[in-house]
């Protein structure tokens, strides 16, 4: 199966939920979703056995946009699919996908620790790699984080 076929297959599988689709590079496909559709979209991908979860990236879009963006990268061969979910600063909650991909728990815990995004349905919310004496409520990768040495 060529890379184009794989991407087409993914696009078809995700078409019920895709709000926008974009191909920034020939091997890449970005699909914007609403967060409520995320678990069903991921389940659809897994049902057709499309690749594996490569990483989850969090982005802080800054004080003007007042939004976070969570990127779920899936890889299958050379094809790279990114599911993009935008959430407001004030309502920073995403559903967990650990019910579908258990290995995602690490990445989701990292996301919630670094950005303070609440992941609903994530069982283990304990501290991952920030120190034990790290102050509560400080999320280092937020753009407005005040970090003292």
């Amino acid at each position: 199966m060529t890379t184009e076929d794989r991407l087409r297959q993914a696009q078809e599988a995700l078409s019920p939920w895709a709000q926008e689709a974009d191909a920034p590079e020939p091997v890449r496909l970005d699909i914007v979703l609403d967060r409520s559709h995320l678990p069903s979209a991921v389940a659809a991908l897994m049902n057709i056995r499309w690749g594996y979860l490569v990483a989850i990236t969090g982005l802080d879009l800054g004080a003007e946009a007042k939004q976070y963006e969570v990127l779920y990268h899936f890889g299958s061969g050379a094809a790279l699919l990114t599911l993009r979910v935008r959430i407001a600063h004030a309502d920073s909650v995403v559903p967990s996908i650990t019910g579908i991909i258990p290995a995602a728990s690490v990445a989701e815990r990292e996301l919630s620790e670094m950005f303070g995004i609440r992941v609903i349905g994530l069982l283990d919310q304990s501290r991952l790699f920030l120190p034990d004496d790290w102050p509560d409520g400080v999320y280092p990768l937020r753009k407005d984080a005040v970090l003292e040495k």
Binding site: L128, F129, L141
Partner: protein, 398 residues
């Protein structure tokens, strides 16, 4: 501890300073007798906050910061970053630079796999193999030092190319070294697959089945030992791999022995690649001019580190500093597999299983907790019974 009743389960904490691994990590194994029933790990001792620091310095400085995420696979981190930034800036490094990048990446893979071979043999109590493999590893360290100017953290990359050329002297030294290492690697492959004492520690231990590997998202040599082809060099070639195809090495057993075999066989592939690159080294410049501020945009670059796929997501807003650099290291994907496969295994095998994925905490600086309750029945045994059981057990194992 209460007297009168024997506690059902012991918890054995190990680390962060521990004699076996040279990196800090805290493990907690709950055991039932000698069988592991649960495993948790707390990392973060080496968490430095590199992703945030990268947002506060310029693109050139970041190259060296990111290179120092991991001292063992430093070059591949720098390569992933360079490829990403070059993509953002719409610049492509000249073919000769791409070839040199791949040459050093393969030399680094040789050094990393030999290092791993020694460390894992040491975990098994096979110090002879540890010492000999590290003696031979010095060959590739010498090559890297004379080629790049440093034994570790080569700083060979710069944005837009590489810093130095491969001279005829280098070429000869590399050829000599690779020939020597090839015969040694053949010998080590023979040792790890035939030495009875060693095979008993590896065959059938820590098995990750193909299904498990796919489900857990295992990558790199660990996945390839379980029959899952995940190799960026093969699937999505980058740099000079586009011109020099890589033959993937796959094993299906999924146990520790298969992981040894995969890594050692990969060494032969690396030697072949090194020879081909030296033969087909394209002429031309070593670097091109890079703008100091890449255009705004997002780039993803994936490369194959010695431990598996390395993933970089870089976002630029056209300023002096990057907007966001996300690094996903291979150990993060593989760590979950250790904690799952350790359950049900002998405690004595756990260090081997852990070392089997070639973990790198500096890379990782994240943590995983997976606990699974064991279902081993508990009973109070007399000393005699315990002795008989253990003797029978080890006879069964042999």
């Amino acid at each position: 501890m209460t007297t009168g009743s024997v506690p059902k389960r012991f918890s054995i904490p190990i680390g962060p300073q521990h004699p076996a691994l040279k990196e800090p990590g805290h493990f907690d194994f709950s055991v039932d007798g000698e069988v592991v029933t649960g495993a948790t790990v707390r990392l973060g001792y080496a968490h430095r906050g590199i992703e945030k620091a990268a947002e506060n310095q310029n693109w050139v400085q970041n190259l060296y910061l990111l290179e120092r995420i991991c001292g063992i696979c430093s070059h591949i981190h720098a390569t992933a970053y360079c490829l990403g930034v070059e993509k953002l800036a719409d610049v492509e490094a000249p073919p000769r630079a791409q070839a040199i990048r791949v040459l050093i990446a393969e030399l680094e893979r040789v050094h990393s796999h030999l290092l791993w071979l020694g460390v894992t043999a040491h975990e098994a109590g096979f110090d002879t193999l540890f010492m000999y493999s590290w003696r031979d590893r010095e060959t590739v360290m010498d090559i890297l030092e004379s080629l790049t100017g440093n034994r570790v953290n080569y700083s060979a990359n710069m944005l837009g190319g590489v810093k130095f050329d491969v001279t005829d002297d280098n070429r000869k030294a590399i050829e000599r070294g690779v020939n020597f290492l090839e015969t040694r690697t053949r010998h080590y492959l023979n040792v790890v697959t035939t030495d009875q004492v060693f095979v008993q520690r590896t065959r059938g231990v820590g098995v990750i089945t193909r299904e498990q590997a796919e489900q857990l998202g295992v990558i790199g040599p660990t996945a390839r030992a379980s029959g899952v082809l995940r190799d960026v060099r093969v699937e999505a070639p980058y740099a000079a791999y586009r011109d020099i195809p890589v033959q993937p090495v796959i094993e299906t057993a999924g146990d520790l022995e298969a992981r040894f075999v995969v890594r050692l066989k990969e060494l032969f592939e690396s030697y072949r690649l090194i020879r081909v690159i030296l033969e087909q080294m394209p002429p031309g410049d070593l670097n091109v001019r890079m703008p100091r501020r890449p255009k705004a945009g997002e780039a993803i670059s994936r490369v194959e580190a010695p431990r598996g796929e390395l993933f970089y997501f870089i976002k630029s807003n056209g300023a002096d500093n990057p907007e966001r650099v996300k690094v996903r290291t291979p150990t993060l994907c593989n760590m979950a597999s250790v904690l799952v496969t350790a359950v049900g295994q002998q405690l004595a095998d756990v260090p081997m299983i852990l070392a089997g994925i070639d973990p790198c905490f500096s890379c990782n600086d994240r943590a995983v907790t997976i606990s699974k309750a064991g279902d081993a029945t508990s009973a109070v045994w007399s000393w005699q019974q315990l002795r008989q059981y253990s003797q029978a057990y080890y006879r069964r194992r042999l």
